[in-house]
């Protein structure tokens, strides 16, 4: 194992110091070796072909399968609808960015199952701390999708009241929200409530000190929080290997709580594993790390150019695991849905897309004086002074020239 070879390396004596220029020639093999399995062990309940995994033959999933035993064909269609609507919304937003209506967009394309599966596992009184890509989770929480677009259009820094849907504002500084989630969960525990908290973040984020500190606090205080990491294989241009040398879910072990890797393109497995983790939290058994093994099918954001660092074959291989096609195949094969159903859904998603376009295009720019709004809850003399000066300055143009 490459990890051992690094550990076994003897400390160099000062006399054997290499010239710095020679460093690249003598690169240790460990620096490039891939330690991750190509096909990792993961919890899967629906194969890429859309076939339900036989639990009797796969004891690994036996612990989780009961958590979706109650799922009806209606529920399956509902999960499918969630994914389709989310993908449509995301595609619409990408198009709106291309048309200059949004300054930026972070697409979730490919991550629908991870988000809908985990999002539908939540109870209304659970609390969500997202990063900036959780459009599918927002959908599950009942946040109006158009509210998500304000910050990407540049008219606000949030756009919704987090307490209405227990869905916190998007967090752009990587990893910060995992600590907020942990603190919130500590509060839940202090209150004796039986709700749970879920924090979303990426594989890249798991390198941040904040995330390690969130793991530490949640473990030490046994907080009811689920860390839901969508490992979409990339942090902008950097592959997961640039962030860690052991499979991500295994990190939890060192902090003293369980980690599970789930097929992030399998909505059913994501639902089951998240329910399992949430129930542990509710029972007072503390945090869990869920690694949803998935793929970012598009660019990191609309500003990014993945052709600089990513191979087409990789993307193609993941397309074969598309979370939506997988459930569609299952629904068709089992007769749970027919073409008429899919056609109806198409009409519904088209209507949603139309509404999103209309709302965004007519979204007003904020009032200029909004710069000075809500800087402090109690007010502040300096802000008052600057607001007055700015108002006078603006007024000086009126009627002038």
């Amino acid at each position: 194992m490459t990890v051992e070879s690094t550990a076994a390396r003897k400390p160099r004596r000062s006399g054997t110091k290499r010239p710095a220029g020679a460093a690249s020639a003598a690169k240790p093999a460990a620096a490039t070796a891939k330690t991750h399995d190509a096909e990792p062990q993961l919890v899967q309940l629906l194969t890429p072909e859309g076939v339900r995994v036989d639990v009797a033959e796969n004891p690994d999933v036996a612990e989780f399968a009961p958590f979706v035993a109650d799922i009806t064909t209606d529920d399956l269609r509902g999960l499918y609808r969630d994914m389709v609507m989310t993908r449509r919304f995301d595609g619409e937003a990408t198009a709106l960015q291309r048309q200059g209506e949004l300054g930026l967009w972070a697409s979730l394309l490919g991550q629908e199952a991870a988000q809908i599966g985990s999002g539908r596992a939540l109870r209304d009184d659970d609390y969500v701390f997202p990063t900036y890509r959780e459009h599918g989770v927002a959908w599950c929480r009942g946040v109006d999708p158009t509210n998500l677009l304000g910050m990407f259009r540049g008219v606000n820094h949030g756009g919704w009241d987090p307490t209405t849907n227990n869905f916190h504002l998007y967090t752009i500084v990587i990893g910060s929200q995992t600590l907020h989630a942990t603190g919130y969960a500590m509060g839940v525990a202090k209150d004796g409530a039986d709700s749970a908290v879920i924090a979303y973040f990426g594989d890249g984020a798991s390198s941040q000190g904040d995330v390690a500190e969130a793991f530490t606090f949640s473990a030490v205080y046994n907080s009811p929080v689920v860390f839901f990491c969508q490992n979409n294989q990339w942090a902008i241009s950097e592959p997961t290997e640039r962030q860690m040398r052991v499979p991500l879910y295994q990190r939890a072990q060192g902090f003293g709580f369980p980690g599970v890797r789930v097929d992030g393109n399998d909505v059913l497995a994501c639902l089951a594993v998240t329910r399992w983790a949430l129930e542990r939290a509710r029972r007072g058994e503390g945090p869990t790390l869920v690694e949803a093994f998935t793929y970012r099918m598009g660019a990191h954001t609309t500003s990014d150019d993945p052709t600089k660092y990513r191979r087409d074959e990789e993307t193609a291989a993941w397309e074969a695991k598309d979370p939506i096609l997988r459930l569609k195949a299952h629904l068709l094969a089992t007769g749970a849905a027919d073409e008429a159903y899919f056609a109806e859904l198409e009409v519904e998603s088209e209507a949603m897309g139309k509404r999103v376009r209309e709302v965004v295009r007519s979204m007003p720019d904020p009032d200029t004086m909004a710069i000075f709004e809500n800087v402090y809850a109690d007010g502040h003399a300096l802000v008052d002074e600057e607001r007055a000066q700015f108002a006078a300055y603006l007024a000086s143009f009126e009627g002038g020239e």
Partner: protein, 326 residues
């Protein structure tokens, strides 16, 4: 050919390339600096030519980036680290302020900390939250750090070389909205000293002092004022720590009026320090109080409001008028 016309981005790229060529101890570190060449492409092609041991894609961890750069510097390397955007420097702020800035003093001068921290900063590109901030004051206030910002391609090229050669930690703020501005770079010139101010335009009625992205705005304001018969001198400060007070004083003794312009909030900003010092130094020369134009005591606003928030031509000219009215 000694003189080339380059964008600021290309000048920085050339400067890094030269530093890597000249000193095998120079390392480039940061998120996405390798294959991608950085999100602004400032490190474009460097990993291809110098290898992964010299141009290092780091884990997504700013405290880690700066903390390990400190260790590498202790080991004799000269790390040049990139923080992807201004708002993401704060996870590393602890390492910068509590460790990097103090190591030299704590070691009674025996340890050198030749670390450069490059930060694309300030607004005007229509970005989302945390991508448009001007935190230079927070660094200039810290003893042990040097803080600079180029405003043009020639300075981008030369100041970065000088920062890398410096044995002190340098926070190198790059005005991201000017990355694509072109200017002449003489790669054989003898550059100005890293911390010297530069007269960007001579004038006799009033001095505008600025740095980084606001130098261009001030030059435009000076041109507009000239049409109204006002002679405006523009000083490019180039360095916020140390500040070239002698250079400012010389200009103010000539023009007798000073307006300091920056994007960062005015309250306790670099302009406040300059106003205080120049008032002390030039009390009997000044015809008007030193005025400041800058950001408000409010979070950087959403993109659709940044044109109102950022000091533009009108706000600078307004300050010029106010100063001249005394």
């Amino acid at each position: 050919m000694a003189v080339q016309k380059l964008t600021i981005a290309k000048a920085l790229n050339d400067s890094l390339r030269k530093a890597l060529e000249q000193d095998p101890k120079v390392l480039i570190m940061g998120e996405d600096v390798g294959k991608l060449g950085g999100v602004f492409r400032i490190t474009d092609g460097l990993q291809k030519d110098f290898g992964e041991e010299r141009v290092i894609d780091t884990p997504l961890a700013e405290s880690g980036i700066v903390g390990t750069a400190i260790g590498l510097a202790l080991r004799g390397y000269r790390p040049v680290v990139e923080i992807q955007f201004d708002g993401f420097v704060f996870p590393a702020y602890d390492q910068i302020v509590t460790q990097l800035a103090k190591m030299h003093a704590r070691s009674l001068g025996t340890i050198k900390m030749p670390v450069v921290i490059r930060i694309p900063y300030a607004g005007g590109i229509g970005a989302v939250e945390h991508h448009s901030e001007s935190p230079e004051t927070l660094f200039a206030h810290v003893p042990g750090l040097k803080v600079v910002s180029p405003s043009n391609a020639s300075d981008a090229y030369w100041m970065l070389q000088q920062a890398i050669l410096s044995d002190d930690p340098v926070i190198f703020f790059e005005p991201k909205r000017r990355y694509w501005d072109k200017g002449e770079v003489d790669v054989e010139a003898i550059p100005d000293a890293l911390h010297a101010s530069r007269v960007a335009r001579t004038g006799t009625d009033i001095t505008l002092a600025a740095y980084g992205p606001m130098v261009k705005v001030c030059l435009e304001a000076a041109a507009a004022a000239a049409e109204e018969g006002k002679s405006v001198e523009v000083l490019d400060l180039r360095s916020m720590s140390p500040v070239d007070f002698d250079g400012i004083q010389a200009s103010v003794e000539k023009t007798r009026r000073l307006v300091v312009v920056h994007e960062a909030p005015v309250f306790l900003g670099v302009g406040s320090e300059i106003a205080a010092r120049i008032t002390e130094r030039c009390f009997y020369h000044l015809e008007a109080p030193v005025l400041r134009v800058g950001g408000y005591h409010a979070p950087y606003p959403p993109a659709r409001l940044e044109d109102e928030y950022l000091p533009g031509l009108d706000r600078v000219l307004d300050a010029v008028d106010r100063s001249l009215a005394y």
